[in-house]
Symmetry: C2
Subunit: 230 residues, 2 copies
């Protein structure tokens, strides 16, 4: 595996480990969707397929677009997709743990990875508030630190964090990088002790403030200095 | 070379072809910088090194940051850098042709590549206007379309475009992708017939308009809909 740049083997190993341990609860996001739709072959329309989800917030986070959902059939099932919310779903009766694996070559300095779109997270919080859903899911992140050792790749350390244990004010939104929230999992604040409802409101507040600051900075940097040339 | 994803062999071949044809005029950007500084070993300070350039606009486009320029020495020369302006410089006495090579696997659909930061281009135009430099450089782009053919990669077509022959209003700025101007070279408008001075003013005008529109859209999408949750 030497030379493998992206550390995917560790992502795969993590999935296989969890799947082996909880075979009926652990899914890839697309597997979970295929599973639901395959179990309900009579459910065809987008509206009816959406109704199979227990929660509007979970529907928002897990489902594909209307077009893809409409075109889904037992002979045209979903495959893995780059911008799915989660790498892995751990689903029990009334709860969804969504898990993203971030692999990291510790011999290289790299900027913190993209975690989730800040806009998608704001919409998620709005769904939570609109539907009063504060105990239905969690967004979890696992960081796996690896390095090359001769012919092999070895795992040096692993870290876990729960997004909703991070104070919203500690999250960094990189507006220029497609509005992604970026952090190394090992560095994520885990001190938040408020409720999920407080978190959802708190996050929307910092998202709106950040968007306003970004606009002001765009005007200061990209508009004002150039007006004299027009 | 089969399986090579990025088409770099074609970039390299283009450079070697041009270098072979015009050995004393063609450089990689970092080679050009190394060349200038090596020819003036007594010139040490950043200000003095900057003064070696014939033009403030060219200085802005080609030079590295102050820190890197200060730390440069004959035993610590520049190497290739990802965000250099140009892949290749064609330098004659009073003119710089800056050339970027965009390789494209025509068997894949891909979004148009990053060409140059819209902000960097706006600053370039401001330098042109401030210094009345309208005949010192050009930004050129070459697209090389390639495909896999058995064991080999083959070049299927090549395209050329001059950025300053494109009407500024036809340029697309992707604000979420680090403000990059994006286009496929083969699709770039080449109908502009105005002067470089008109181009510089025209581009700054569309850049400022685009920044304002982007701000307005950010307020509409990321602020207004969320105010009710705060």
């Amino acid at each position: 595996m030497s030379g493998h740049a992206a550390g995917e083997p560790f992502e795969k190993a993590t999935y296989l480990f969890l799947k082996g341990k909880y075979p009926s609860n652990v899914f890839k996001q697309y597997e979970y969707l295929n599973d639901i739709y395959l179990k309900h072959p009579q459910t065809i329309s987008v509206a009816d397929r959406n109704a199979l989800f227990e929660s509007p917030t979970v529907l928002f986070l897990l489902s594909r677009g209307d077009k893809a959902t409409k075109e889904w059939s037992p002979t045209n099932i979903f495959e893995e997709k780059q911008n799915d919310t989660a790498d892995i779903i751990y689903h029990t009766d009334n709860f969804y743990d969504m898990i993203d694996i971030k692999t990291r070559n510790i011999d290289k300095t790299a900027q913190p990875p993209n975690i989730i779109s800040a806009f998608k997270l704001a919409k998620t919080c709005a769904h939570m508030i609109d539907n009063q859903e504060y105990d239905i899911f969690r967004l979890n992140y696992i960081e796996i630190d690896w390095k090359e050792a001769g012919e092999n790749l070895i795992c040096q350390a692993a870290h876990y964090a729960n997004l909703f244990k991070a104070a919203p004010s500690k999250l960094y939104i990189n507006w220029a990088a497609a509005m992604q929230i970026q952090f190394h999992v090992c560095d994520l604040d885990q001190t938040w002790t408020g409720t999920m409802e407080e978190w959802a409101h708190g996050y929307i507040r910092i998202f709106v403030e950040s968007a306003r600051r970004r606009c002001q900075k765009m005007m200061d940097d990209y508009v004002t200095p150039f007006l004299k040339y027009i």
